[in-house]
Amino acid sequence: MMLMLAFTSACNSTGSKENGTAENNTTPGVTEQGPADPFGKYEQTITLRYGKEVDPTDKSLPAGDTPENNQYSRYVKDNLNIDTKVTWQAATGTNYEQKVNLAISSNDLPDALVVKDTQLRAMVKAGQLEDLTDAFNRYASPAMKSYMEKTNGVSAEAVTFDGKMYAIPSIQVHSDGVHQMWVRKDWLDKLGLEPPKTIEELENVAKAFVEQDPDGNGQNDTIGIAGQQNGGRLYANFLESTNNTYGLDPIFGAYKAYPGYWLKDDSGNPVYGSILPETKEALAKLREMYANGLIDKELGIRKSASEPVVNGKAGIFFAPWWMGYGPLPDAIKNDPKANWQAYLLPLDAEGQFNAHMGAPSTVFVVVRKGYEHPEAIIKMLNLLIRDESKFDISVPVGHYPLRVPMSYMDESEYSAKALQEVLAGSKQSEDFTDPGYKLLAADIQNVKKVKKEPYDNMDIQYWDPQADLGVWSRIYSLLVGSSSLQQDYNKVYSLLYSQTRTMESRWSNLKKLEDETFLKIIMGAAPLDTFDTFVSDWKKQGGDKIIEEVKEYVK
């Protein structure tokens, strides 16, 4: 309780500051008088139409429930009296993005949407969005405000244009941006190998995985390092900085190369990571590894990158902490012995793990200009934050209308550490009182359902996924995926995580050039020195101008 009060007062100070800039704004929705209640139930049912992202492989909804009408939408209706209607729905990922783009370009918007940064900017520029400054100040719950505080203003800046707040940002755990090495430890054990610490060791392990038949089926059909699928990313970039599953980011990191990121050079000037010599060096190694058959031959061509992981054909892949949510549940269904473990590896020449860090906010909830109740989405998110731990997550929380992830940025490492301490018996659940770690209480309550003794051994045989696969997904992700993040590693941030003016028109062309060249170099379709041509073309075709703009931006 004391903590809550502390947060409230901390937030009030910024709240009033923001009020100052938004004083003259009379948002049509905020006309009620008196103090605003972040969880206040509407007296009369209001309707909120939105576009929804649906995972087509998700079969979790019970019979009779729909993406529009399910436990979450009913919860919103019961608690806030908001009737959520789905205007249109599209499959997760590119399909949804395209649908949003279409809605933007045809100016045919539902009341609210979840969008990404470039879309948010386009919509602000097009004047399609409702100003949320007032609604946020009056209705955001202390928890929501404290999450935003913790990003040191980065999240607020991402949604503020000319002093007005045009969206509610997601606040994601920063471990979403750290791509770790996931390895089949049972394969390592079988072949008498250790988790590879250097690039050289990585090559040896991958070679052993390819040649020594680790799955024991007598056929030469295993992949060393799995790669990204068609349309995927070789590495995360400043615009899409998190959750790049199956990318090759840590290998670049081992060469101190951060392609796709904006960095500072020795003299303090901004440079673009993709055109630096370190990137060429990393590409040269990747090219060699590909030619030696250590990386998936069908890199960038496969329809689904998770397929070899699920089928037990791949031994290594790179991804963030949450793999317990997917693809690992399917992988252990096919092979209960698939002992996937996560490490912050490989290391660079000095023995350090280098990770590029993601932006704290990558998705945003926006409200159409002219919608009568802009505060409705804030109330819905307040409710989600407050009650998420109570939900039965056998139906994924993605079905919560207009959900964006919101938490402290260190939530997953903090929770992992807490769970370890509880398992070790050194702490009890009462020792963790900050309600901002909203899922932790439930995690502590559930952990022993799925984790068997010994509690300090994370190998798959000491787990009981069948007891509750939903709980297992989360706990395994935390204890295996996030635990490794407690050790020291080098955090590299991009100078900016959104587009400058020239990028709006030129970036797609430069990005295409980059994707095409790098993939060709790695897969041997173009010589390594194409990289130099790429660098000069990149500069000529707008890159130089963009560097100037970034310089202006970071000044």
Binding site: E97, Q98, I104, M123, S505, S508, K512, E516, A525
Partner: protein
């Protein structure tokens, strides 16, 4: 003289087509204004600022433009060639079959792929030509190193054209078969009485009988030259194949819809429309000259 009600029927039958044309093809034409604007969806076409030919200038400064025009024409011309010749040969071969039962069966089976969408077919093709797929299995048996087909920009146009011809030849055969029924059997009888062999009969009776159909189809497909097949390529390509596989439509889709470069994408689309328009006019002139085909 025809009576009036008879003509009225014709007009009524014309109406749905006319409405469709107006809604789907004529009205959206105003959208080309976007090509000359810094288009802002919030302001719409009426209020977005005009920027003259800036989008066109940028378009011509891009290396991509040349590549995508070349790829489009290259793939489309190969497709037109394949889709004319293969069904023709196949129709003639079917026509020579004397067992009607087999002929019907073959005909039914070969036109089935026409009804599958590219979304499904491309998935199948990606599997068939994958590194561990049956095609590479076959190559392996022949002692040839496996080929990563979808990483080879040099092979991609042939995969695209080959699969398109394979998908459509059965269906296109129907047109030729229909034309073949129009050839009088007495011509064949006369030819055999004169001692013509099968090949001679095909050369002197069948082919001349099909001539107008061939010319007509060839000329009409000219208007389609810049449609190299969005569905198909979009579902199969990846960045490795951009250099030979990226066509105008896929490029416009990426720029316009994914990257929200509305003006630029519209400018390229407009250029494509202009070229297509010229080609359609030429094709109709040729059609009326060589095949005596006129709409009005």
């Amino acid at each position: 003289m025809r009576n009036r009600t008879f003509i009225k029927h014709y007009y009524i039958m014309l109406l749905p087509g006319f409405v469709w044309l107006l809604l789907i093809s004529i009205i959206p034409m105003f959208g080309i204004a976007i090509a000359f604007q810094d288009f802002n969806p919030g302001q719409g076409i009426w209020k977005s600022p005009w920027i003259g030919l800036e989008n066109f200038e940028y378009m011509f400064s891009l290396n991509d433009t040349k590549t995508i025009f070349f790829n489009t024409v290259n793939i489309a011309v190969m497709k037109i060639g394949g889709n004319l010749i293969v069904p023709l040969i196949f129709a003639i071969m079917l026509n020579e079959l004397r067992l009607m039962v087999i002929k019907r069966w073959v005909q039914t089976i070969v036109y089935l792929p026409h009804f599958l969408s590219w979304v499904i077919l491309s998935g199948i093709l990606l599997d068939v030509f994958s590194y561990t797929g049956p095609v590479n299995g076959l190559l392996h048996m022949l002692g040839i190193e496996p080929v990563l087909f979808f990483a080879r920009a040099d092979l991609f146009p042939f995969i695209v054209v080959g699969s398109d011809v394979w998908k459509e030849f059965g269906f296109n055969t129907i047109i030729y078969l229909a034309a073949l029924t129009g050839i009088s059997p007495s011509l064949y009888e006369a030819a055999s009485i004169d001692g013509a062999t099968r090949l001679r009969r095909i050369w002197h009776v069948t082919l001349p009988g099909l001539r107008t159909t061939i010319v007509l189809l060839a000329v009409l497909s000219l208007g389609n030259v810049l449609n190299a097949g969005f569905d198909q390529i979009f579902n199969m390509y990846n960045p490795l194949l951009y250099s030979t596989g990226d066509i105008i439509d896929t490029w416009v889709y990426r720029e316009g819809l994914l990257n929200m470069q509305y003006g630029l994408a519209t400018a390229v689309g407009l250029l494509k429309s202009v070229v297509s328009f010229v080609l359609i006019i030429i094709s109709y002139l040729l059609a009326s000259k060589f095949a005596n085909y006129r709409i009005f």
